[in-house]
Amino acid sequence: MRTKWLWVVALAGVAAGCGEGHAIFNVDVYSFIKGTGRDTIPYFVPPGPPASASTFQRIDLPGAGSSFVDSVIVNGKMSLENQAGTGSIGLQLFIAADSAGTLNSSALALTVPDAAVSGTAVTPDTIVGRFNDAVIQLFTGSQLWIRLQAKGTNSGVILLQGKAVIKSLWLTVVINDKLF
């Protein structure tokens, strides 16, 4: 998301409205990943222990600098399009300053609880969450990495197979401006 030019205009508004107001960015993340393949996470969970699958994505940020990111809220919709097997699938979002960092458990920023899937049923699910302070601080940098992980358990005897497809994903970033 090369949004640097946007900040020229957008933060002009912050300047115009400076004071104690907030800058609220409603970012339609899904529109940036739709159709690229990154909106889909295939999962394959054999019978036995839990398994997971991930996709990585780098996001370029304008760098909020001295501004203080007050809160980041995530909401969206996804579908678990199961193709075979029975079990449960959940989604986890890891955020870190670099790609390797997203593999750390401490980078866990959001968890979508497991939902039961079976056969060829399509299971809709929602994504709702609020990032903690440690994650929020990453939004003041110039870039961050996210890792979307579908994790599941297989309660049956055949391969649990399908894909988690994101249908919408919005980030609401609230910035307390400290430019003045």
């Binding site: 946007l6 205009v9 933060l11 300047a15 115009a16 409205g17 107001g21 800058a23 409603n26 003045f180």
Partner: protein, 446 residues
């Protein structure tokens, strides 16, 4: 990012604040401030803009005015209290990451001579941005009202020096002159995007029109001011001046700059393409002088308690620059500039300024009004003073170049030849419609 924000803030600040700075804020006389900035007699702007006032006897226009006013800059104490380590204050250090040019410019435009009794609040509202790969909407909320619909900028003409000598109303001298004019106007698409929260469109140009001009030089001047009729208490005065303007140098640029969106608002590596073009004209100092002729006229009528005056400056002051260079510059996917013409003649025009004033004194009461236009809107002052024994009470109202109404009030006490005056003045900054109040103090010697 911060640079962009600060840049926009500077434009807003300068565009909005410079006008009153030029017209009102550099007043250091608490008495005048208490009357809403009203100019009386030879005070303020009258002698500068009305050549007839040179002939009006100072005694005839005193109207309770002191011979000398010494400002007491209490605001500096407040400023130094707020910035105790100015030399190491990062906000004032261009080399520091904390350098805040807005604070610097605001300090210059609003010199901290006055005590800030009540600060003008900055607006508090949220601004929202909705961003998608192919959508962008900005909602500035109440701050959208601050996005200028019309042309905005700063301009002024000044005469920084005017030495000379005279004999019986005739005066020969040399006047320095400077004229500057900076204007911006948002294009329709950018205006709609920022002010009306219109979504960004594909393949659309968002731009700002730009105009800047600065010129200066000197002008040998012959002037006359004298009483045409009446005596020292009931007289009609007229004055005039002819200037031969010699232009030392000037530069002017006109153009527009902005960006063009692509097929997708945030598609590809370069979602927008910067785009700009300007035509620059200049005649550097050391080049052939510009030249032109213009003049000032003024009349004043002082009849006992009544005083009326009208003055007009820089009439017909068109400067011809015989040796000008014209360059065009263009930027789209790459930049280039090329000379358009050289050694060509161009012309510039100084803005005509005028002032009209009226004062009426009856007993210990003085009332007055003046209108000053320096080429970018009129500034109106109406005020008065009531002297009661040792004390004086003052009040006034002013309309600035942004058509905002401001109020002044104050008082003074006089002990023989020495007086102490206090004046309060409301003001609004560029970012708010709510008023702040400053207090000026000065010593007067009668």
């Amino acid at each position: 990012m911060r640079t962009f924000v600060l840049g926009f803030g500077l434009v807003v600040l300068v565009g909005g604040a410079a006008a009153p700075a030029a017209a009102q804020w550099l007043v250091t006389d608490a008495r005048r401030i208490g009357m809403g900035g009203l100019s009386l007699g030879r005070s303020g702007s009258l002698e500068r803009y009305n050549p007839a006032y040179r002939a009006v006897p100072r005694q005839a226009t005193l109207r309770g005015q002191p011979k000398l006013t010494i400002p007491i800059p209490l605001g500096i104490i407040q400023f130094l209290h707020d910035h105790p380590h100015l030399s190491s204050d990062p906000a004032f250090d261009p080399k520091s990451s904390g350098f805040n040019p807005i604070l610097v410019v605001n300090t210059i435009l609003n010199l901290p001579l006055y005590l800030e009794v009540k600060k003008a609040p900055t607006p508090t509202n949220d601004v929202a941005f909705t961003i998608g790969q192919d959508s962008l909407v900005v909602n500035l909320g109440a701050a959208a009202e601050l996005v200028p619909e019309d042309q905005f900028g700063i301009s002024g003409s000044s005469r920084p020096f005017s030495p000379g000598f005279g004999f019986k109303g005739l005066r020969i001298g040399v006047m320095g002159w400077v004229h500057d004019d900076v204007e911006f106007q948002l294009g329709d698409t950018l205006l709609g995007f920022l002010r009306d929260s219109q979504p960004a469109r594909h393949n659309t140009r968002y731009s700002v029109l730009l105009h800047g001009l600065v010129e200066g030089g000197f002008a040998p001047t012959v002037s006359y001011a004298g009483r045409i009729a009446g005596d020292s208490t009931h007289g009609f005065y007229a004055g005039g001046a002819v200037h031969y303007y010699v232009g030392v140098g000037y530069g002017r640029t006109d153009g527009d700059a902005g960006f063009i969106t692509g097929d997708t608002i945030f598609g590809g590596a370069n979602p927008v393409t910067p785009d700009g073009r300007t035509l620059t004209q200049y005649s550097k100092p050391g080049n052939t002088f510009g030249h032109g002729i213009g003049g000032d006229i003024g009349v004043a009528w002082v009849s006992g308690p009544i005083e009326i005056g009208v003055g007009v400056n820089d009439i017909g002051a068109t400067i011809t620059w015989p040796d000008t260079r014209l360059d065009s510059a263009f930027y789209h996917d790459s930049s280039y500039s090329k000379p358009v013409a050289n050694h060509v003649e161009t012309k510039t025009k100084l803005p005509v300024s005028y002032i009209a004033n009226l004062a009426y004194t009856v007993g210990n009461t003085t009332l007055g009004a003046d209108v000053l236009n320096t080429g970018r809107g009129s500034v109106v002052h109406v005020g008065g003073e009531q002297r009661i024994g040792l004390f004086a009470v003052r009040g006034g109202v002013a309309r600035d170049q942004r058509k905002r109404i401001e109020f002044g009030f104050g008082g003074g006490v006089r002990f023989g030849g020495l007086g102490l005056d206090v004046g309060f003045w409301t003001h609004t900054n560029s970012l708010s419609n709510e008023r702040g109040v400053t207090m000026a103090t000065s010593l007067s010697i009668y």
